[in-house]
């Protein structure tokens, strides 16, 4: 069983029809996900780490002529807010996504041209198109708000963002 009893069987997940034929055939989440780098939130998998470690090797294209674009720069956001600064890493995002998934309809490519709003994000716009739906949830504040402000000596409350190798999930 996963951290937080996350991976319930398809029969008991509340969405699959337990009387239908699919639940006898489809792969159970626990079978696949329990082998991947564990997380403490969402569906309990560190998807980027799992990809980087080679635990999974998902295809990046179907068509041979598709250009696979990786982009490495980091962007710092929320420079004037009260929370720690946000470091947005392009590299981890473009491992999974294409530039056109976010630009320019969600975020303008020009630095500083997009006004971010945590309220919009919580409503499923901007970063919230994915975070809170298919990528780590919005309750993991400090994974994005990860950079201390200059002169800010106070320790920030930290969430468990790295699980030591060999850690045993709590019962």
């Amino acid at each position: 069983m996963a951290w937080g009893d996350e991976w319930v069987s398809l029969r008991k997940d509340g969405i699959h029809d337990p009387r239908g034929p699919a639940v006898r055939v489809l792969q159970e989440p626990e079978v696949a996900l329990s082998k991947l780098t564990p997380d403490t939130a969402g569906n309990m998998v560190r998807w980027v780490q799992s990809l980087e470690k080679g635990e999974i090797n998902p295809r990046a294209n179907l068509r041979p002529d598709t250009k696979i674009r990786l982009y490495e720069s980091d962007v710092l956001l929320n420079l004037k807010g009260g929370m720690p600064i946000v470091r947005f890493p392009h590299r981890q995002h473009t491992l999974w996504l294409d530039c056109t998934n976010c630009h320019d309809h969600l975020f303008k490519a020009e630095a500083g041209a997009t006004k971010f709003s945590m309220l919009k994000i919580l409503e499923g716009e901007q970063c919230g198109v994915c975070h809170g739906a298919v990528s780590f949830p919005l309750t993991e504040c400090f994974r994005c708000h990860s950079v201390a402000r200059p002169g800010d000596g106070k320790p920030r409350p930290s969430l468990p963002i790295a699980i030591p190798a060999g850690a045993v999930p709590p019962k």
Binding site: A22, A60, T66, L97, T139
Partner: protein, 97 residues
């Protein structure tokens, strides 16, 4: 959970498991190459599109994944459930998900 048309057409709603697919394909394959918009319920396509090789049919063609005549493997949801994101990463906030 996809139930835009399925139940009206007499079949179970479709459950698309992101976790299963992302082990095998990066997001960009479906959301850039195949043209799936990143908002549940916003992709307006029919079984005829899939049979002709568009959307899910780019893989679900009997070569990369099971063919579209295996109705029950995708149409596997409980009847009466609405289209929406369910499970793992869902944030219990005021979001539209």
């Amino acid at each position: 959970m996809l139930n835009r048309r399925a139940e009206k057409e007499g079949v179970r709603p479709v459950i698309f498991p992101h976790w299963f697919h992302r082990i095998r394909f990066r997001c960009k394959v479906c959301h850039a190459e195949l043209g799936f918009k990143m908002r549940v319920g916003s992709n307006d396509f029919k079984m005829s599109d899939i049979v002709e090789g568009r959307f899910c049919g780019a893989c679900h063609n009997g070569e990369i994944a099971w063919p579209p005549d295996q109705c029950d493997l995708c149409h596997s949801g409980k009847r009466g459930l609405p289209t929406g994101i369910v499970g793992g990463h869902e944030t219990g906030g005021p979001g539209r998900w």
